[in-house]
Symmetry: C2
Subunit: 659 residues, 2 copies
């Protein structure tokens, strides 16, 4: 044990201290007038209430698993599991609380200038990003240090992170899209009132959804990815470089955290006392700084610590591939294909939907080839450790990439508040501009997330084969093939459950919104207030009721498969789930993104603009895309990894007990 | 070589003779009045013209492959390939020609009585079914006999069948859905005229599409499945039971053909001189007779010829699993889920689309479990031969199951002719009743098709590993994993191409139909005729231009993968394609089916009936489902098998040349 084994704890704490400092800076800004604060308060109350109800259900399951793990595999691993889950919950809750406090401050800041709004929104996102990265590194670093790099305990930590992530993504995803679909269907399509109109009874639920789904859900998601990639790299690194290999990923991520802090500071310094800035340039600049600094750090680290530049090459490759996947994602969801897609809306909703699905399906091709390329090259350089390390490379600067991701919903919410609080139209224009930039820059973050998910899944699969002593997983055996077939089916079944939950909850929401428009006298004239809370309650109920079953699917399927067809079939199942899951996740995310932007493109006045036949078709496309891109799609990435981690943790225990 | 090796040739010829007899019987019926004949003639001309253009392109590719195979692997295999392709083309062309002659006779028959219409439509379908089964058995039997059971030559035959099938499915599927979507979008949605209204310029193209897609395409598809399953069973049977094992599948299918003939005769006998019958009962009865007779025959064959009942068990299991998958398919596309789906149309197109995709995704679960069950049990009984044989069991009575499948589009077309020729409304009601029954009974046929595709794909995969001498396909190797990942992507890319082709061609069609409504004076008042031929030309052009690339994908991907990552990666790729392809195919087919029937359910008067808000939403759902269920979905099954057969045929040649 060298002092370097403390790096996770130390730099995790550095990140935490910086986050607290940043939080105070952000909260210094004015939260705006009374009406804005009232609206923001309502969003906050709804979001917190939902998260607390969600955590209550979650902790029943966490508690059961904690006890089972403790009894069968010792309490150290059980504690690691509990810590992994709890730090995820904390980072989601804290990050989201700050985000809900930042949105009104962003709206207020945008009154003064675009750059002011940009700075506040970005820093709000940075708090989320840094919280997730710091707590993730700190927690896993703590387990690593205390257990002397025990892989089993770390896998428990990763399992806790994955379990919370799946619940948060599924629950938050159902909530946000039930509210969004419900609000849009009646508000925009039937009543013809604009987005975020305070007369829409579902408008608060919609904004709450942005926070619990897009902020808290995404935070838990990336916490999971981050932890999963470090864990798998550390577990595989020890095989190749013994102790140094196990420590290496922690140091890489520590460099990433410091680089992210510098990137965030540079961003803020650049904006100081400036009235007008190009938000896209500013965001990109901060991110590039962080990535370049990380690469420089990793270069010297590889050379000095591991005496080879191969880890540097692999991490560099991971970053490049992540950025390329991001560019492809951006191309399919924001460039030519979207314009072509928007044109098909002129022929109606059906061609738009058909073509949108075609775009999403096509968009799987190049990312898969890039991932394959990254896999081959890094495998040839450093074996399985290389594959895991490429995944770490994609997430090393998470503190700032997630900042840019989380900045989007904050700007979106700020726009909602500006609208509802009836601020001057130019404020909304500014927040819209901020939001638009966020959508594009977020594409790179998505690229990192997709790429790292696939590589981490592969690394976790390899770890599974090691912990259950499988030298060979022979596809020519019928049980392995069947495992792959059943595994391939699971992402479809899982998506079906998630989408049905959104569809069902949205239907109840639509009825409720219609009822309020019908029954509350003076609502459309703005003389009476709608009942926001009943819509929040519908989304909450729908989400909580429907999130449990799909999440348990991930936990139980590896166990069931093990009992029926054995450990080799479980390996087949993990591959099947990865293969069909990666495709389905990319397809759903990008179809949804393309529809969203096709609608936005039409709203700029193309093909008849707002209110035209094409626009109506585009609204349908956007609505269908909502559960694609924000509920089922992103959750599949977690499903894949959670199944792998459950297999790593549970199957060895079952083998011990039953064989 | 025993006399039994001739069984394929002999019983194939018996089937052909019976088919010719049946054809004369069907053509004896009156083709109806002059107007009906004129319409039927227009459909026939369009359909034949399309097929001939399609075959011209196809034969360029067939010719190139023929020469390449001949030069590298001997002319016997090349000839087998050519024969496999040509008999497929012939059966598609002949079957479709009869179908287009039967539709007007069905409409005419329905004037007299429901049972009359039923008989003619069924016999028309039976001609298709018997043509496909007889020519398939005869051709493969001929190759088997001439080459003394040479697996390589038979694989050439199967490759010819698969290649044609993919072209026919993709080309026909694009044609039919471009026409259908185009006709519906403007006709039903914008102009508000009913289905099959002669004022709709795309109406002839729509009816041509039913024939080239649903009849000729489906015929080639099942010819391929039939040939593929017999080939793989024969190739694997020889390993277990030597010569007898190779012959066994041919005899099973011969029994199936005789049983189908008896089933068809019993059906006709039952309807003799009856005015009113329950069409569903009559169709089911014929099919059950055929299946029971086959089982009895196989029971004695197993006992006497192979001295074990295991093959009987496996075939029995295959039939039961096929029927169960059929029932599940029917449940998801016609029962409770469809009613629930129809209800969501009340909230709009978006919830309907979301829920419809959820239904399709969910519907993958039980079929996959049933297929897994069939695989395990038959593998335990007879090894890989058992898996292939279970697939043969599902298709043994193809002569009659395909009859029921092909009967659907004939009844559908008859309805179109009744409408366009302005026959009395009761005629249309009768043809609609026939069509409705066809949709349900066809579910069982679909179950057989899905089940056998998965099992045959598995058997072909096993054959591939044998011909390239792969004892083990180790998923823990990164190139195998990458093969699986890239393979899993292909069905998505392929579907994307197919759907985009439909979307693009439909858009051009929509513009053309709108133009005609706008520019042809008196069209809507029925005083002027539309220009049908321009719409047929658009669909033809769209289909021919876009069918080549996706089809070549299947041919070239195994070759490319072999050169980059080797033969084990190709095995990984085949598994990846099977895993994601089976799911995608079931998902697309059943989502499409569910939307179709949800629309029909609303049209019975539920949730506001025709013209209501819910109905408009349901029409959008149906339109989106069209390329799902009739273009991309069914073609994926062929893609999976064609890739396997190309690998079986081409990779050993490449190994010989380059290693």
């Amino acid at each position: 044990m060298t002092i370097l084994n403390l790096s996770g704890i130390v730099f995790g704490l550095v990140g935490i201290v910086f986050t607290i400092f940043l939080t105070f800076k952000v909260l210094e800004n004015s939260p705006g007038n009374e009406k804005m604060q009232k609206i923001s308060g309502a969003i906050q109350t709804g979001a917190r209430a939902f998260l607390i109800s969600e955590y209550k259900i979650l902790y029943v399951i966490v508690g059961i698993i904690f006890i089972l793990l403790g009894l069968t595999n010792g309490w150290m691993m059980a504690l690691a599991f509990f810590l992994g889950a709890t730090l995820s919950v904390l980072s989601g809750f804290f990050g989201m609380s700050i985000a809900t406090k930042t949105n009104t401050r962003t709206a207020q800041g945008a009154i003064h200038s675009l750059s002011n709004g940009l700075k506040i929104a970005f820093n709000g996102g940075a708090i989320m990003g840094m919280t997730v990265a710091s707590l993730g590194l700190f927690g896993l670093g703590l387990v690593f240090y205390l257990t002397n790099g025990d892989t089993i305990s770390m896998s428990g930590y990763a399992m806790g992170a994955s379990l919370v992530a799946l619940f948060a993504r599924v629950g938050g995803g159902i909530f946000t899209k039930a509210a969004d679909v419900g609000a849009d269907l009646v508000g925009k399509t039937e009543a013809g009132i604009p987005e975020d109109d305070p007369r829409n009874p579902a408008v608060i639920a919609d904004n709450v959804g942005d926070n619990v789904g897009d902020v808290a859900g995404m935070g838990a998601d990336l916490y999971e990815s981050f932890v999963g990639s470090i864990f798998s790299a550390s577990a595989l690194g020890v095989i190749l470089f013994s102790e140094k290999g196990a420590t290496f990923p922690f140091i890489v991520v520590s460099i990433g955290i410091i680089s992210a802090i510098i990137g965030i500071l540079v961003f803020n310094f650049n904006l100081k006392d400036k009235e007008n800035v190009d938000p896209s340039k500013a965001l990109h600049f901060g991110m590039y700084i962080a990535n370049i600094l990380t690469l420089i750090g990793v270069f010297f680290l590889s050379l000095i610590f591991l005496k080879t530049l191969k880890p540097f090459y692999v991490i560099f490759l991971g970053m490049v591939v992540g950025m390329l996947i991001g560019s492809i994602t951006e191309y399919y969801t924001a460039k030519e294909p979207v314009k072509h897609l928007a044109k098909s809306a002129v022929s109606g909703a059906a061609p738009l939907l058909i073509n949108g699905m075609a775009v999403g399906m096509e968009s799987t091709a190049i990312p898969v080839i890039l991932i394959s390329l990254a896999t081959i090259v890094s495998y040839n350089l450093l074996g399985l450790f290389g594959i895991a390390l490429a995944g770490v490379g994609m997430l090393a600067t998470l503190g700032i990439t997630l900042a840019i991701d989380a900045y989007g919903p904050i700007a979106d919410n700020a726009g909602g508040i500006a609208q509802m609080a009836e601020l001057e139209p130019y404020v909304r224009e500014r927040t819209d501009a901020l939001d638009a930039v966020g959508n594009t820059t977020a594409a790179i973050g998505k690229g990192f997330a997709i790429g790292s998910a696939a590589l981490t899944a592969l690394a976790l699969f390899a770890s599974y084969t090691k912990v259950v002593n499988l030298e060979i997983i022979d596809l020519a055996k019928s049980q392995v093939f069947i495992g792959a077939l059943v595994g391939g089916m699971l992402p479809f079944l899982f998506s079906s459950m998630a989408m049905k939950a959104v569809g069902d909850a949205a239907e109840i929401m639509v009825e409720e919104v219609r009822r309020q428009f019908r029954e509350i006298v003076g609502l459309m004239e703005g003389k009476a207030d709608p009942d926001y809370s009943s819509c929040v309650a519908i989304a909450t109920k729908g989400a909580l009721k429907k999130m449990v079953l799909p999440s348990l699917l991930a936990v139980f399927m590896p166990i069931i498969m093990f009992f029926i067809l054995g450990k080799e079939a479980v390996a087949g199942m993990l591959v099947g789930t990865t293969v069909s899951g990666v495709m389905l996740a990319i397809f759903m995310a990008n179809s949804g993104g393309a529809w969203d932007n096709a609608k936005k493109y039409i709203e700029t006045g193309e093909f008849g603009g707002k209110g035209s036949f094409a626009h109506k078709a585009a609204v349908i496309g956007d609505t269908v895309g909502d559960p694609f891109k924000d509920t089922a799609g992103p959750a599949i990435n977690i499903l894949i990894k959670l199944m792998s981690i459950v297999s790593i943790v549970v199957i060895p225990i079952l083998i011990k007990i039953f064989q």
